[in-house]
């Protein structure tokens, strides 16, 4: 499955862009995406945290992506 990934904050700097489309090689779970991303962009492992959101809600690592889901990378937030 192909998935569209949107980045904010430092995640944009890491993927050098606002968006990327990724072929999921090892399954459709968030943990699979996390692994794949970290192997392509080792910078992600250096962050304090990396969370994921689908359709504007946080999702757990066990979440299984469905076709059409918009996956958003949430590096450590720092509002306020």
């Amino acid at each position: 499955m192909k998935i569209r990934i949107v980045a904010f904050g430092i995640a944009k700097d890491i993927i050098k862009g606002k968006e990327l489309t990724m072929d999921l090689d090892n399954g459709n779970s968030i943990s699979a995406v996390r692994e794949q991303l970290s192997s392509i962009y080792p910078e992600f492992s250096k962050l304090s945290s990396l969370r994921f959101a689908v359709n504007a809600d946080y999702v757990e690592d066990s979440y299984e992506l469905k076709s059409g889901d918009e996956l958003v990378l949430i590096p450590p937030v720092s509002g306020g």
């Binding site: 809600d57 958003v72 720092s78 509002g79 306020g80």
Partner: protein, 138 residues
């Protein structure tokens, strides 16, 4: 005025305070987060805030709803600014009112603490010689 609001324009803590005022209020507590001129002794030129806006609004609304319910507030207003924010300008305003002041204090503190943990907004400190995404690294 909208209760939960993200804007590139200047915030107005006075309007937020007025928005939560009501005839039964025993206490109004307002938190204003302003931009600091330095971080760990290093001079900051200004900040740049970026938000994943639909989700940020949703998470801010969750905070206001939970706080209103848990501390029996009359109302909570949360405004956050994005884009370039100058030193000393307001980056966030949280105002809430309740029949009892203790509840308003607790709710307001919960709201800013939680906002800093869950709301997808990112802050970049811009220095003379570079820039840093705040809290990105351990």
């Amino acid at each position: 005025m909208q209760d939960i609001y993200i804007t590139v324009d200047k915030l107005n803590s006075k309007a937020c305070t007025e928005a939560v005022t009501y005839p039964g209020a025993g206490g109004i507590v307002v938190f204003v987060g302003t931009v600091r001129d330095q971080t760990k002794g290093k001079a900051v030129k200004h900040l740049e805030f970026e938000a994943y806006e639909p989700m940020a609004l949703k998470e801010m609304q969750k905070i206001a709803d939970h706080a209103t319910d848990k501390w029996s507030l009359h109302k909570m207003v949360i405004h956050h600014r994005t884009g370039l924010v100058e030193i000393q300008e307001e980056a966030v305003v949280i105002a809430c009112s309740s029949a009892h002041r203790k509840e308003a204090f607790e709710a307001c503190q919960y709201a800013i603490d939680t906002l800093k943990e869950t709301v997808p907004i990112w802050k970049k400190e811009v220095f003379e010689d570079g820039e840093v995404w705040v809290s990105a690294h351990p």
